[in-house]
């Protein structure tokens, strides 16, 4: 048994980095930025508290208890604390690592375990399987919703998750990946060549959004290459605490994309972008520093990329709309991309841009959080909806499918008139 190699009372190797936890000097600057702390007022549900608990496990003060597991999943992993932390602590990443530990400390058993393994290790890593069996509309029939309800503790889903999941489902179109040509040529004067990382949720649930992304890129003068063999970025696995599968997916995507001769690897999913930018750290032990560094440099969120290259505005059509912008956590906090989307929106002629109060406050979606903690997610969402209402906007722009689902559902439930659009859809409207 290699158990004794683990740090303190962590049950598994691959522990959160000890120096990273020690970096926290407990100033509390993170507290007012943490949605779960603001909701509960409970120190252990704050970034400072969560890091203190993980450190207590590392220091042999406590075992890896149920409370640790609970906190690691209750953390939204929104990274707002990272943005606010002058000391450079990343409580979200510490909790991600703890989710992995939780799966070891509290192993699932029987059918529940098999289902989880099937979803995370077989279905998500395989684009074909995903498209044929995970197409959400068919999920109903194929996997059998009854079976899912009976096994809803698999992903530790809250009691109201079903109704919500159903309500959240957008109108579905056929997945984009099989339809998209591997190479789409640039229009107008060519400006370069990019690879497109097409996320699972984008191809399955928002194929029309990613179609706009490709359209905007090509009309801006970029040739777009979308490798068919690309796989899931690994974010759902990291989220559920399956670091091993995350690494093998990362390995695959890294090798695949680094073979292409492109100026950048562009994604329109903030969650994917954040995960791709973390490959460098995830695969650190492979020793391929140069390759990983170059990969990291090439990963660009669509807004980041277009803002960097400069938007060609000469042919843009006017869009006469009142618009506001919700910042996806995985774009602003995890990737530090905050000003760029606003600059792009404002560059479109005719737009009346209204800043959203607390624009970078999480919407409560946070991967499966919104299904696991339906009540808390709702409270976080309500705060967001109030702020949206105050802007008087007609369009709510965002840049991540998780936020998109949650916000569209919330607005519909509240009977609010705003339509949610991805930033490339807005740019698409202007592109014509």
């Amino acid at each position: 048994m290699a158990e004794k190699l683990c740090l303190g009372n962590f049950p598994l190797a691959d522990e959160p980095n000890y120096e990273g936890m020690l970096q926290c000097m407990r100033c509390g600057f993170c507290l007012p930025t943490c949605p779960t702390y603001v909701l509960t007022g409970r120190e252990r549900s704050s970034p400072r508290g969560r890091v203190a608990l993980a450190k207590a496990v590392a220091d042999d003060q406590i075992d890896f208890t149920g409370a640790l597991k609970e906190e690691s999943f209750f953390c939204l992993d929104c990274r707002a604390c990272s943005t606010s932390c002058p000391s450079g602590v990343h409580a979200g990443q510490v909790m991600e690592a703890c989710r992995n530990q939780a799966n070891e400390a509290f192993p699932l058993t029987g059918a529940v375990r098999k289902f989880r393994e099937f979803v995370l290790q077989r279905m998500l890593p395989s684009p074909d399987l995903l498209e044929t069996s995970m197409l959400p509309a068919r999920l109903y029939q194929k996997l059998g919703i009854q079976w899912l309800i009976r096994h809803s503790q698999i992903l530790k889903l809250g009691p109201e998750w079903m109704e919500k999941a159903e309500g959240m489902m957008p109108e579905l179109h056929p997945p984009l990946r099989p339809q998209l040509p591997e190479v789409v040529p640039a229009e107008g004067e060519p400006r370069g060549r990019v690879a497109f990382f097409l996320g699972c949720i984008m191809t399955l649930m928002y194929p029309e959004v990613s179609r706009q992304t490709v359209k905007v890129l090509t009309s801006q003068g970029f040739e777009v290459i979308t490798p068919k063999e690309q796989k899931c970025c690994g974010a759902p696995h990291l989220n559920e605490g399956d670091r091993e599968t995350t690494r093998s997916l990362a390995r695959h995507n890294l090798d695949l994309f680094m073979e292409l001769e492109v100026d950048a690897i562009v994604t329109d999913c903030a969650g994917c972008g954040a995960a791709l930018k973390e490959y460098e750290e995830l695969l650190e032990e492979s020793g391929e520093r140069d390759k990983l560094e170059l990969f990291h440099k090439r990963i660009k969120d669509i807004s980041e990329f277009l803002a960097e290259q400069g938007l060609r505005t000469d042919s843009l059509k006017s869009v006469e709309k009142v618009v506001t912008y919700h910042e996806p956590c995985h774009l602003c906090h995890a990737q530090g991309v905050s000003k760029q989307p606003r600059d792009l929106i404002k560059a479109i002629p005719g737009i009346d841009f209204r800043e959203l109060n607390e624009a970078s406050w999480c919407c409560g979606s946070a991967a499966t959080f919104s299904l696991k903690y339906t009540g808390e997610s709702r409270q976080i969402l309500d705060r967001k909806l109030e702020n949206i209402q105050a802007t008087g906007a007609e369009l709510l722009v965002t840049a991540n499918p998780g936020c998109h689902l949650q916000l569209a559902w919330g607005l519909k439930q509240a009977g609010m008139p705003q339509e949610v659009v991805h930033i490339t859809e807005l740019l698409g409207m202007a592109t014509g």
Binding site: C27, G28, E43, R44, S46, A52, A56, L68
Partner: protein
């Protein structure tokens, strides 16, 4: 360990969500922002009505448990840590602003209101609450009062004490008290509120406070001055004061601090400079222009390497916000940041910088210094690693020797962080055994049973008997 029965009593009193006692909660309510300090309480309670506090105090007396009042736990001297176990009385859920009185220019709020929320609420009515401690985004008014918190504006506007007009709360025997009021003048008997401000939770539990407010300044200008050596920066501060200019803010950062803050905030601070001063003058439009020119003239005369002015209000806010992160930003480069709160008469500032430099060389330590230079209040911070015993010993020796000089110059061991657990020994060096004895007598008359935050500021008689 509290009995299940006792916990149940508290739950009946406060509701289940307002009583925490799991090990994970005890750990996470076992610290504040003071390094090397961690003690487990027995239970954490959150009163949601002022009346609850009386009942909690009575419960504590029955159970023989000490009570430690706590806000958001951002203190820097261990004041809100349960050093002897007992009850953490967390006031964050008593967080209502009760009144903003525009006729008397006062506002009344419960102890758990966050400082910046209070600032924003009164500002919305065109009024100004100046105290702005570094942690204002999360610190509570109750905590600010208990520690007599300062901030960046202290030089011109004073500290928390200067704005407290009235206090309500509970004493250690369950008696409630009200002291002060909205009258601008009040010499009726002892100024009990002045004893309670800065009492670090040892005299009474403050549940409600009334503050005086002032009209906000109409204009503001922000200057940044860079220096090639810290001594000149110190001289610049003394010269500004000696020129009879009182800026609202006069802050200093040394090179180590500049580098760390820039590493976080990315706002173009000069990485190669030995020190910078952040200077704000505010007031009427005309006087602000004049004062800014006067400050500039002094800076030029003293020999500042470069003088810049904030481009607009947003830039000025960025600079002040960046300065507030100084301590936490220093934590980027070392696992432990041990900081002190030495304050000297301002004419001694340049010498203090020399002394800090000398001692950091003598003890072979990495030190970052920043602080409220205009107040003579410096935060020399040793960047160390608590796992390195030898280094920690040298760090403590560094402060020991620094305080010799600070006290010899007529300075104080704490300008704004309080004594708490961390600085008890230094206090006695400053005020002597008789000074501590007077404080003990005061403590005894407020808290005869010794249940309120025992062992803070000074050791109580009980521990001394044990020692003897």
């Amino acid at each position: 360990m509290l009995s299940a029965n006792a916990i149940e009593k508290l739950i009946v009193l406060l509701g289940r969500q307002n009583v925490l006692h799991e090990k994970e909660d005890l750990i996470t309510f076992g610290y504040d922002a003071t390094p090397e300090i961690q003690y487990l309480p027995d239970v954490i309670v959150f009163p949601t009505e002022s009346e609850h506090v009386v009942e909690i105090v009575n419960f504590a007396r029955e159970e023989g448990l000490p009570i430690v009042p706590r806000g958001s736990g951002t203190g820097l001297s261990g004041g809100s840590v349960a050093a002897r176990g007992g009850i953490i009385l967390c006031l964050t859920r008593l967080n209502r602003i009760l009144e903003i009185d525009e006729e008397n220019l006062t506002a009344t709020a419960q102890a758990g209101v966050v400082t910046l929320d209070f600032f924003d609420a009164v500002m919305a009515k065109g009024l100004f609450y100046p105290p702005d401690p570094g942690s204002q985004k999360i610190s509570t008014l109750g905590g600010n009062i208990a520690e007599d918190a300062g901030g960046l504006r202290g030089l011109k506007y004073g500290v928390t004490r200067d704005y407290v007009m009235a206090l309500n709360g509970v004493l250690g025997d369950g008696l409630t008290f009200t002291t002060g009021g909205k009258s601008v003048k009040d010499v009726a008997g002892y100024a009990l509120k002045d004893l309670l401000v800065g009492s670090e939770g040892t005299l009474g539990i403050i549940t409600e406070a009334t503050f005086s407010l002032i009209p906000p300044p109409q204009a503001k200008r922000t200057l940044l001055a860079y220096f090639k050596d810290t001594r000149t920066a110190g001289e610049a501060v003394a010269s500004i004061i000696a020129a009879k200019i009182i800026p609202s803010t006069l802050e200093i950062m040394d090179n180590a601090t500049i580098r760390c803050v820039e590493g976080y905030a990315n706002i173009g601070l000069p990485l190669e400079m030995a020190a910078l001063l952040l200077i704000e003058v505010d007031g009427h439009h005309a006087s602000v222009v004049e004062e800014a020119d006067d400050v500039r003239a002094v800076l030029e005369r003293v020999g500042a390497a470069e003088i810049h002015e904030a481009t607009d209000a947003e830039h000025a806010n960025q600079l002040a916000a960046a300065r507030r992160t100084a301590l936490s930003a220093l934590a980027r480069v070392s696992p432990t940041t041990l900081l002190e709160d030495a304050t000297v008469p301002r004419s001694r500032l340049a010498e203090t910088f020399d002394e800090i430099e000398r001692l950091s060389e003598k003890f072979q330590l990495k030190v970052g210094t920043f602080g409220h230079a205009g107040d003579g209040n410096l935060h020399p911070t040793v960047l160390c690693d608590e796992r390195n015993r030898d280094e920690m010993e040298r760090a403590h020796a560094f402060y020991h020797e620094l305080y010799d000089k600070v006290l010899a110059w007529g300075g104080t061991v704490s300008g704004e962080h309080g004594i708490g657990l961390a600085k008890k020994d230094y206090l006695e060096r400053q005020i002597g055994a008789s000074g501590v004895n007077v404080m003990r007598r005061i403590k005894h008359s407020f808290d005869p049973h010794g249940v309120l935050n025992p062992g803070k500021i000074f050791n109580d008689e009980v521990t001394e008997e044990k020692r003897g």
